[in-house]
Amino acid sequence: MALLEMSGIFKSFGPVEVLRGVDLALEAGEVLALVGDNGAGKSTAIKHVAGVYRADAGEIRLEGKKVEFDSPRHARTLGIETVYQDLALADALSVGANIFLGREPTRKFLGIPVVDNAKIRSETEALLKRLSSRIPPKAATVAGLSGGQRQAVAIARALYWKAKVVVLDEPTAALAVMEREHVIELSRRLAAEGVGVIYIGHNLIEILEVADRVAVMYRGQVVHVVKAEETNQQELIKYMTGFTEAEAKAA
């Protein structure tokens, strides 16, 4: 049984049919890369999993059970964390405050619930240590962190809250080479902890490095799924640009 399964997902925006029956299965503990040309429907497909869109037809199963997400929040409570390109961290808050944002532990002070900052601090330090992360845990705010460090905070958040599925939407898009390595390492780390990771990317070299399997989308469908070690850039590009299975074999 797959951890997360999308079957026959259709989605149209007005007259434009963006998804034409997407089938995709994600296993626990794997990094599944999702590639495709611009407009192939990667982001739209992923937003169904994140609870942003609802499918016109088709269904999503999480651990074998059919799920319908009312909202991103709902998806999150069911264990699906999405790390968006724009990262969605609150700049004014510390690393710990961001990791716990919206789910702060509280303790009673004169009967009033107050945010338990000591707990947030110690948990954050332990978490960052566990990730062998280079984020200074005591940084006053995340505003001064680099793109890779911010990405790491977002991933750490997913890890801490025991997400079952983590969707990374082009996590290395704006990063320097060293930082890119770190994010790839963190993605592998998530998978090693048993999380199912969907990794959207453009850079095929990176994709082949990070992924266990690669799913190629073309014009609103998943046209090819292959183990990373059994494919190469040329093959992936062929599928991305619309070769059929037969043509790809022949070529």
Partner: protein
Amino acid sequence: MASAPATTPSGPAVADEAQASSLRHRLPVEIYVLGFTVLVWVGLGVFSRYFLTAGNISNMMRQVSIDAIVAFGELFPIILAGIDLSVGSVAALTGILFAMMLAAHLPVLLALPLTVALGLLIGLINGLAIDRLGIPAFIVTLAGLQGFRGLTYLVSGGMTVAGMPSSLDLVARTSIAGIPTMFVLMAVIGLVSHFILRYTRLGRYCYAIGSNAESARRVGINVTQVTLVCYCIAALFAAFAGMLLVSRLTMGNPNAGVGAELQAIAAAVVGGASLFGGRGTILGCFIGSVLFTTIGNGANLLGVSSFWQMVIEGLLIALVVYVDNIQKKRQAGVR
């Protein structure tokens, strides 16, 4: 998958060092403003014999109390990256209605909760217009600035309201352990506000929304609720200030609180708040209020024209924001 080196040469050591040096540079702007305020005190103490007398000090403490309470309220919308331009007019409207109720021989214990309720209602209207109708806070509360002032003139006929019960100025005139009662009230309101901002989820969500409303929404924070609470606090504190003014003047004055919103915003900004949201503290607001009160008081004592006072205050706001920006840049440089 290639495994990246576990610790690179630029690993934890560098990060720690950067952190330490950024701590050194991260003296909050409040400290500079406080230092400057103390300098002004010393200067005024030298140039005016009257400045450091007990009478003048307690007078200043009363004056700063009202200004600071308005500024504390104003801080909440500012942290949200919003603004409340209506607080001066709300103080006037609630004050005048409070005075009229007292003049009509309503007991204080009835007039007070009614005024508080009115303040909350106004805050609710502001907050709903901003959050539900999606009108920018600046516009909503600009309308309030004009509208509530108009209502104040309408209900009072533009006249002051006299005939307050003799017990009313108790709050304004008495002291607790040598500290003016008004100042104590202000301190309590300030402490409660500080507690909310610093230690509760609500406070944390204010900063989160102010720095990235979308991310706050995505993690499931109820942005509408927090917005409503913040504008209610701003209006409520304005109502407190309105009532205290009535107590201090022992009459209702429809011209009360003209320009109070700008003074409050200036105090918050001088105290380290950012109009782009996500930053600001109660302590900073208080220090900012003290600075402006000091300048006003000192200028009066030295016979400086009130027009020059406005010029000085304007320059101060510009200077403080400039210093703060330099600081932020320096901080970013050492990250």
